[in-house]
């Protein structure tokens, strides 16, 4: 991709923007059980950070994960969701029965960690789907 949008203002501004966007995305993900937010929203925010980096810095982007790699990681995110469900099945429960997850904690903590597990899976899937579509769109100009 040619450096169409790069300028000294953007190069400086996005260095201050990216850490805050990433931090906010992680906050929305981790706090999703108690406040508005969750996996889908956090995935969109984190994906936008990567897209912004790709737009401003072009080929030299630090957070550059292109094409096939992004699709593979999105698939891993989807698998993470299923994996939590399968873990609870392995210990004798139903699919996604969080209180039977094989981790040494009490029921409430297991529930929280189970929900965090599936939210993380959703987040990774949404985030890398956005990145994959973005780099598939700009990839032809390279």
């Amino acid at each position: 991709m040619k450096k169409v949008y790069g300028s000294i203002i953007l190069d400086t501004a996005f260095r201050y923007l990216i850490p805050f966007i990433l931090l906010y995305g992680v906050y929305v993900l981790l706090h999703g059980e108690y406040s508005p937010g969750g996996g889908f929203q956090a995935g969109a925010i984190l994906g936008i950070a990567f897209v912004l980096d790709g737009l401003v810095q072009g080929k030299k982007a630090i957070l550059r994960i292109t094409g096939e790699t992004a699709v593979i990681i999105a698939g891993i995110g989807t698998f993470l969701y299923c994996f939590v469900g399968i873990l609870s099945m392995l210990s004798g429960g139903n699919f996604l029965e969080y209180s039977l997850l094989p981790i040494p904690m009490n029921d409430v903590e297991k529930h929280v960690w189970g929900i965090l597990g599936i939210e993380t899976g959703v987040c990774i899937c949404v985030m890398f789907t956005i990145i994959a579509i973005f780099y598939a769109l700009v990839g032809k100009e390279e």
Partner: protein, 102 residues
């Protein structure tokens, strides 16, 4: 000819949809089926049944966990298909004829 047929089909479909609008419950009606069937159960019981302090999370991750799994799969499939279509032919000679790349 097909354009006229399509227009007629659109107009008929619009009339059908508009004529059924009267049967829908009023927006925010407390006595509508949606507000009397599962909503009270979620509001009253979701905390003790799931332990989650947030209705939305309780519905999303507990009551309808399968649904969310389906949503995630749909998003992944859509991304996979889009990426596959857009990245299919990077060589110019493999692209479809037409447009500016003749």
């Amino acid at each position: 000819m097909s354009r006229i047929l399509a227009s007629v089909a659109i107009v008929l479909m619009c009339l059908l949809l508009f004529s059924t609008t009267n049967g829908l419950p009023v927006l925010f009606d407390a006595n509508s089926p949606a507000s009397t069937h599962v909503t009270p159960r979620y509001i009253e019981k979701s905390h003790e049944e799931t332990g989650s302090p947030n209705f939305v999370t309780a519905v999303l991750a507990d009551y309808r966990g399968y649904d969310t799994l389906g949503e995630t799969t749909v998003i992944f499939t859509a991304g996979l298909a889009t990426a596959a279509l857009l990245m299919a032919s990077k060589k110019k000679s493999n692209r479809m004829k037409g447009g500016k790349d003749k």
